[in-house]
Symmetry: C2
Subunit: 151 residues, 2 copies
DNA sequence: CGCTATTAAGTTGTGCGCAATATGGTTGCG
DNA sequence: CGCAACCATATTGCGCACAACTTAATAGCG
């Protein structure tokens, strides 16, 4: 334990591992909270965006909002379509684009998950203000990592 | 935008999405930083644990440390074995257990990644103290979520 | 108008994560 | 000892993530 050659490699000293573990713990919690909707966590995120805009969105717009590419979104959207929650239609004005829109079932699902954010908040054991502060820190982190990555 | 039915579902208000995005941004950064070692980020975490203990570890111990199960670890460890970084041997004293130990190449790799934590820290644009505070907050978050999940 | 560059989505392949299950080894109880 | 719980690991199946590539459509320039 003492005198290791590279102390900076200690798992417990690093930020990356708790971050990774926290994401997985949150995802696991969502499995429980979303049980009954049939949604996975990434599918829930897509639905959040669609509920928010109430407009048909292209795959690319969805991807920009969620930082996901077509390799992830295409099969995910096909599953949402198979579940009857969204429609996927080529944009008549630009046949390259696929517009994703909510079905009636998809729209109706919003009510069923309205309590999820509160339930998750309660599971995290932090106040709303702490959550918002943490959110801001993580958002900044992402911005910095993006910059570093593109440099 | 204004007057939506369930404002608590707004993506930008939620903690979960930046958390999810931050983990993916960190993982992406690791791809760059670990290029040349042939390691993925989860494989790097396994190596961190092995470098730390310097003792053969069972799959279960590794899993407890990293919160991963055999379904994830078994194939990952086989890839590390194929890369010549670890050995996998049945425990002679208990043939149910598989002991994972470092090869010489595996041990030698530690030096090559010694600079990675510092490089990642620089990419995140936060001070060491901020990183440690964030680490503690996330660790607490995980503890709470575990409690909620098992309740 | 015709051709090239660009863009959008889809496809393929690899590696997680994890639930559910299978397989084989060990323990402990009668 | 025999056998029924229990335990450790492995396997299977599904759904992400994402890089690299393909296909099809559009834009823009000469």
């Amino acid at each position: 334990m003492s005198g290791r050659t590279y102390p900076q490699l200690a798992l417990d000293l690093q930020l990356c591992f708790p971050l990774y573990a926290a994401t997985r713990a949150v995802t696991k919690r969502y499995v429980t909270l979303l049980k009954g909707t049939g949604l996975t966590y990434p599918q829930y995120l897509v639905m959040l965006v669609l509920w928010e805009t109430e407009e048909p969105l292209s795959v690319t717009s969805l991807g920009q909002r969620l930082r996901l590419d077509s390799g992830t979104l295409t099969p995910l959207l096909k599953r949402l379509e198979a579940a009857g929650l969204v429609r996927r239609e080529r944009d008549p004005g630009d046949e390259r684009r696929v517009l994703v829109s909510l079905t009636e079932d998809g729209r109706a699902l919003e009510e069923q998950v309205a309590g999820v954010p509160h339930q998750l908040g309660a599971s995290m054991g932090i106040t709303r203000d702490e959550a918002l502060a943490l959110r801001d820190q993580l958002t900044e982190l992402v911005d910095h990592l993006d910059t570093a990555e593109s440099a």
